[in-house]
Symmetry: C3
Subunit: 136 residues, 3 copies
């Protein structure tokens, strides 16, 4: 068993691919096969496993979720932390805070077109903490 | 490895914070570090990791999801179990039935503002079963 | 620890129950109790734990998600792979790519009304790969 912490700089609702860093954790550990669980310690940034080939997929996801979860919705009462805050909480509820991916012979069992992304839901620069658990 | 069962009383689409009970499971086990997986054995109540500071976040989540997933939608054909039943199934599909959180030196690695909630999607009183797996 | 790969044939946005195959994995392993993690290696098919009693629940889920995530939405720029492709990516983002279920004495701790489904989001015939990790 091994646990690592990653610190990721984000900016303006972008997507950060975590694949290389997760592979790096597996290499640092002495585990060959097992389960990699990724956990993000925030409620306005989340995890997403999605297509890595065409960046238009992530752009469309960004716009679709932005249209579904509107800024400045009159329904919101939690408004003191900015226009992007309550939408960020809702997007986190709709996506994932933890994902688990098996790994075999030192490689994550991601599909050919899959990557693991940190999805930032706030504007501006953020520093995000992720915990990676590797278990047998 | 340790597995525990929690039984939680809920009422009327509320949120129940599970942090203390999950910490209690870790303390009962002889594990210091590892992975805590929470699984809810229902299809009309789900799990949510969200902000614990301002209760308005949970209230806004409740209202936003209630507006997205309407009661009495003419699309529904599964209507025999009440107005809140099919919306509950949809809310479960949109949120989580299992979440996994690493723990280190006996403490869940939740972020400062994160708590784990049981999110009840039905009206009235329910008794909900949760299974907690602690592994290395 | 044991890892298995399942290959599942799907057709036309249907639901395939995985319970029997997951139970089969547990029986093949020499594990009695632990955690079963299911991971799907695709970005246009996902995993869902839902009611298994009334098939109308799955039919309503299919229709509700189809109305929320429209085909041919003018917002999409990723359109080269067909009408069902970008909606499939969005439905995957809204549902789960990995789920974890504890098992005790050789049986998954699913609730009475719960089953694990592969939810196909594309038309036509697909062959889907699932990785099952069983750990203590």
């Amino acid at each position: 068993m091994a646990i690592y912490q990653l610190s990721i700089s984000t900016a303006d609702q972008n997507f950060t691919c975590l694949d290389q860093k997760l592979q790096g954790c597996i290499e640092k550990s002495d585990l060959s096969s097992g389960l990699c669980t990724v956990f993000i310690r925030h409620t306005s940034a989340s995890l997403l496993i999605q297509e890595n080939a065409d960046p238009a997929v992530r752009r469309d996801l960004h716009h679709w979720f932005g249209r579904l979860v509107k800024e400045g919705d009159s329904l919101y009462t939690h408004t003191s932390e900015g226009l992007d805050d309550m939408p960020g909480h809702i997007k986190c509820a709709l996506t994932a805070t933890s994902v688990s991916i098996p790994f075999v012979e030192g490689r994550l069992c991601l599909g050919t077109w899959q990557s693991v992304y940190l999805w930032e839901h706030r504007y501006g620069r953020q520093q995000r903490q992720i915990v990676v658990h590797l278990g047998e």
